[in-house]
Amino acid sequence: MTAAFPATAPTPPKPITSGKDPRFAPTLYAHVGQPESWTLGYYRRHGGYEALERAFGMGADAVIDEVKQSGLRGRGGAGFATGLKWSFMPLNDGKPHYIICNADESEPGSFKDRYLLSEDPHQLIEGMLIAGYAMRASVGYIYIRGEYVHAAERLQVAIDEARAAGLLGKNVLNSGIDFQLHLHRGAGAYICGEETALMNSLEGLRANPRLKPPFPAAAGLYGLPTTINNVETFCAATQILKFGAEWHAGMGTEKSKGMKLFQVSGPVARPGVYELPLGTTFRELIYDWAGGPLEEMKAIIPGGSSCPLMRWDDKTLDTPMDYESIAAGGSMLGTGGVTVIPRADCIVNATWNMVRFYGHESCGKCTPCREGISSWMTRMYEKLVRGHGQPGDVQLILDMSENIGGRSFCALADACLGPVLSSIELFREEYDSLAQLQTPTYPPRNRWKDV
């Protein structure tokens, strides 16, 4: 194991935890938005595929070590340590291995992967080549949500270009390594983002989640060892191999290292995607980068709709956006999709929308989700919002939630409870008003306006 790059910096500098830190440079999105950024020519002119050559030079095990040392955690939502996950793949078992890129990005509030896919596809391809090499996989699939037509086209062109340039296929860059990469388009189902459902979908089956164990690293796609990572995770791997584990670990907090793509939606001056070090505060993201709210706010969804709401207050705004701090604040970093909810919008109505989303996206496999959420919870919310609420309704929703939570087959049902339980906890008075007085605290308003 010859990690040619010694991890012995003199005195460790203070970690970077602000996008405004003069040392911080965006890398994942460095080229997003630039003309022709999606072409191989552009990518190569900007140091493309050099990380791959470094990886080949280091050896497969050293690549996994490098990723471990970088402190990278999965960017798909759960935040599992990437290097550790890669090391679960069996070595020398003589079986074909697969790696899959989870480009299903369907968590409401998330839109970071989309631009990585359409604007910088080679960064992902390079990351998958590196990962494939590290995990002895010679075939990779990118499972992209069906609606990302534009991104899929760009990606397909990029794959073809890479193949023509000898970067994909047999004997990549004369390394003796074979790596094939294929695109597989989904067709509209949120559950396909769940890794085992994704594998079923890729196998042409109904996208119901599978039983675990066996875990994908033991028996995944086609029953063979498989590792699935998010788009951003693979792209971060490219940057880690380029700039080093130490560079990556120099950003963020003790347990949440590196940079993260944060997305801001809702009525702020400049919604969009911002690449910031983990540990940046909500306040910096929302005010300095996104230009601040356009009206009075009451809640923040910190990481996609599955994450419990947080109250819009100084405490929340000053919370650093890293896995641990947000967890301590009662929610989750999730995908980093931050949505702000205005004071004047009925929280029960907004939650109804989210519950309806999960009900619509329930795969139908297990009872608590299919019946509890899809059939019942959605109607409880409809009843409340439509002014037919009754005094016991909120209590009933809480009791149903207790009967659903942790009892479902996969995490989708629990995800639905994120907004439900947090909105009841934070804004009980809005619920009570609907349940007892059949009147919303914040009546519907026209939000469709020319700006």
């Binding site: 189902a189 089956l205 109904r206 599978r210 039983l211 029953g223 009900g359 619509h360 996206e361 329930s362 795969c363 139908g364 496999k365 297990c366 009872t367 608590p368 989700c369 299919r370 019946e371 509890g372 899809s374 059939s375 019942w376 109607r379 009843k383 009933l396 009791d399 149903m400 207790e402 009967n403 939570g405 942790g406 009892r407 479902s408 087959f409």
Partner: protein, 718 residues
């Protein structure tokens, strides 16, 4: 391994699921989606339990609880589905018996399960035998807080002539979908849509006949129902008779449900060693004959016409008819699905009167009992490393054998057995199991099994074996290689090779078996041919085989329909007025095998019991009683005068104890001592016309055609 269930420690084999651990401890867990012979999927979430396990330190020692000094139990924060959880050493499990959390979780899940379920129990055929109804009573809240309109869907949706679906009642356990995919290997039924809109449907224009009926047994609710038995009775009104199917030589365990003397329904009964939990569609739905157009009184030909008569008159008619014959002229023929006891009785009568013309039909001319590696059992087939099927059409000859072969292809994992029965959740079974078609070679005509076989060779007749011994094509070479190279191999032989097979065939087979180490399973021609062949029920010196019944001076023909009469006195013993019965001089009413007590011997050589279902059959009698009457007419003392004496005689002749057999039967090494030429070939044909459910039973009363249109053709055995 030691596991603690509700505070009680018990020792369990490794691999036990948490749900089986609870049952083994004498506890109970409600479940809907788990099924003994299907992969556990964890879909219904009813089987929640609390579990906790000890943890180990890095050095391998247990993390100890400071207070007690015992290994500390780390409980999962949430209840877990016990059907998909493996019990492990030192695990603690709490069922509803000892956990409030579990009791609440199960009641909550029951409320969800019942949310969209219609309150149909009073008109549902499943009522009284419904897993949902029972469990809701035991584990539910007793009331739903839902308060919205239930999902509405098609309540009378025929999936085939045999199975009707009520989409509103479905609780999405997926048993039916998994069954088709995992057991007969057919992708013919699946969920459509997703989430709360999910429903069951097929796009095949109907379910394939073969094994579809099993889904009515395994559906935990009344969503999938036996359409033949639809609205025929409530479960508590039926007389349930556990017995054995004798439509073919597999001998599946079944329960016959009768009401008001009619056979209304047949359902599968578990027999781990024979049919597991499955039966074929013929065995399930093909019972129309048991209750329709039965012959209930003897008939005697008077002035050329058959007229109803009493048994005494019939006996007198036989006596009168026999005055023109010697008793030794009376040929005695019986159906090879007759019980061993009946066979013993007939053999004894033949001995007593000295008639050389004795035969049972169908049968083959060869005895293959003395093969070198012993007889193959169905469990051997299911767990074999390779199977070579030669000249068999299993769909016609032994359908469940086909399922056992398919079980072999998907790994041959027989679920373990506990004191509470077969494992409820065998975690080795997986959805969409990998199949190994290369383990199966099929030689012969193209059949349903063909599509599952990795090696297929077309061949005709009994030279298939010879060709296999000296393969002349790549496929046959591959089949021989499979036989030679695999450890545990079975050769299955069917009618196409067994018809006309002789001693040289047996020698050749024996040689092949010795060379390859294979066990041999020859499918008997009739349901009890294997048992009857152990008796002297073939033509004796100078006797006429059944094929020559028309040449017999006089004949007694039990439940066979050759369509011709003997030269002289012709006595037919049958349950229906068959073509032969119409030609007879005396017709004696017979009971069907559903109304008999006795013993049958299946293709493995397994003794299985028949029980008597309460069907109305008037004065019909089984063969033993009928032969007593015939003896009386012949003026001889009947050597066998009832079941007990037949069993005593069987014990004497065959060294067997009959009666009070264990439920799954016992295997006996039969030696067929008597072989003789048959002079005809046996064409296996499982579904006979009289088994077809009549039109009336398939069409709801309000849509019934005029009675005269509904009448099916009368008689006809084949």
């Amino acid at each position: 391994m030691k596991v603690h269930v509700d505070g009680v420690e018990l020792e369990l084999p490794a691999g036990t699921s948490a749900i089986d651990a609870v049952f083994e401890a004498g506890g109970d867990v409600p479940y809907f989606c788990a099924h003994k012979y299907l992969s556990p999927v964890g879909a219904c979430r009813m089987c929640l339990v609390e579990t906790g396990s000890p943890r180990k330190e890095k050095d391998g020692s247990f993390v100890l609880d400071d207070a007690t000094g015992q290994p500390k139990i780390f409980w999962f924060p949430k209840p877990m589905a016990s059907c998909t959880m493996q019990a492990t050493e030192g695990m603690h499990i709490k069922s509803a018996r000892s956990s409030e959390v579990v009791a609440k979780a199960q009641a909550g899940m029951m409320e969800f399960t019942l949310l969209n379920h219609p309150l149909d129990c009073p008109t549902c055929d499943k009522g009284g035998a419904c897993e949902l109804q029972d469990r809701a009573f035991e584990y539910g809240y007793g009331a739903s807080r839902f308060g919205f309109d239930r999902r509405h869907a098609d309540k009378h949706y025929p999936l085939s002539d045999f199975i009707i679906l009520d989409q509103e009642r479905c609780i999405h356990c997926k048993r039916c979908v998994r069954y088709f995919e995992e057991v007969p290997g057919q992708e013919v039924l699946d969920f459509i849509e997703r989430g709360g809109h999910t429903f069951i449907d097929t796009e095949e224009g109907g379910l394939p006949t073969g094994f579809q009926g099993n889904i009515a047994d395994i559906c935990p609710v009344g969503a999938l129902l036996d359409n033949v038995a639809r609205f025929r009775g409530r479960n508590w009104e039926y007389d349930h008779t556990p017995t054995t199917c004798t439509l073919c030589s597999v001998g599946c365990s079944i329960t016959v449900d009768a009401r008001n003397g009619r056979l209304e329904r047949i359902v599968a009964r578990e027999n781990r060693e024979v049919n597991e939990a499955w039966i074929c569609d013929a065995g399930r739905f093909g019972h129309a004959f048991a209750s329709e157009r039965r012959l209930t009184v003897p008939l005697v030909r008077v002035d050329g016409e058959l007229q109803e008569a009493s048994w005494d008159v019939a006996i007198a008619a036989i006596r009168a008819g026999m005055t023109r014959h010697n008793a030794t002229d009376l040929a005695l023929y019986l159906n090879a699905d007759s019980t061993l006891e009946e066979g013993v009785a007939l053999e004894a009568l033949a001995d007593a009167v000295g008639s050389p013309h004795v035969d049972h039909w169908p049968r083959y001319e060869v005895s293959l009992d003395a093969m070198p590696n012993g007889a193959a059992t169905l469990s051997d087939v299911a767990t074999a490393d390779a199977v070579v099927v030669i000249g068999a059409d299993l769909g016609e000859e032994a359908p469940i054998l086909e399922l056992r072969i398919l079980e072999m292809l998907r790994g041959g994992l027989l679920p373990p057995e506990y004191a509470h029965g077969t494992a409820i959740a065998d975690l080795r079974l997986v959805e969409r199991p990998a199949r190994k078609p290369e383990k199966l070679a099929v030689i012969g005509k193209e059949t349903r099994l063909w599509q599952h076989a990795g090696i297929r060779a077309s061949s005709n007749g009994h030279n298939a074996l010879e060709r296999l011994s000296r393969p002349d094509t790549a496929e046959l070479q591959a089949a021989l290689k499979l036989l030679t190279d695999s450890e545990k191999v079975i050769i299955i032989l069917g009618a196409d090779v067994l018809n006309g097979a002789s001693g040289s065939f047996a020698a050749q087979l024996s040689e092949l078996a010795t060379r390859t180490g294979a066990k041999v399973l020859a499918i008997p021609a009739g349901a009890n041919s294997k048992g009857l062949a152990a008796l002297n029920l073939v033509p004796r010196e100078g006797g006429l085989p059944f094929a020559r019944v028309a040449d017999a001076p006089a004949a007694f023909i039990s439940r066979l329909d050759p369509g011709v009469r003997a030269r002289g006195l012709t006595i037919v013993h049958d349950s229906h007025l068959t073509a032969t019965a119409r030609l007879a001089d005396v017709v004696l009413p017979a009971v069907t095998n559903y109304e008999k007590r006795g013993t049958t011997v299946n293709l493995e050589g397994r003794l299985l019991e028949l029980e008597q279902a309460a069907l109305s059959a008037g004065e019909a009698a089984d063969l033993i009683r009928t032969l007593t009457a015939v003896s009386e007419a012949l003026g001889v003392r009947a050597p066998v005068r009832g079941l007990k004496s037949a069993q005593a005689l069987a014990e004497q002749k065959l060294g067997l104890r009959l009666g009070e057999l264990p439920e799954r039967g016992v295997i006996h090494a039969f030696r067929s001592s008597h072989v003789a030429p048959t002079e005809q070939t046996h064409v296996p044909h499982l579904w006979t016309e009289r088994m077809q459910p009549s039109i009336q039973t398939l069409i709801p009363a309000n849509l019934q055609p005029l009675p005269m249109l509904g009448a099916a053709p009368v008689g006809g055995d084949d």
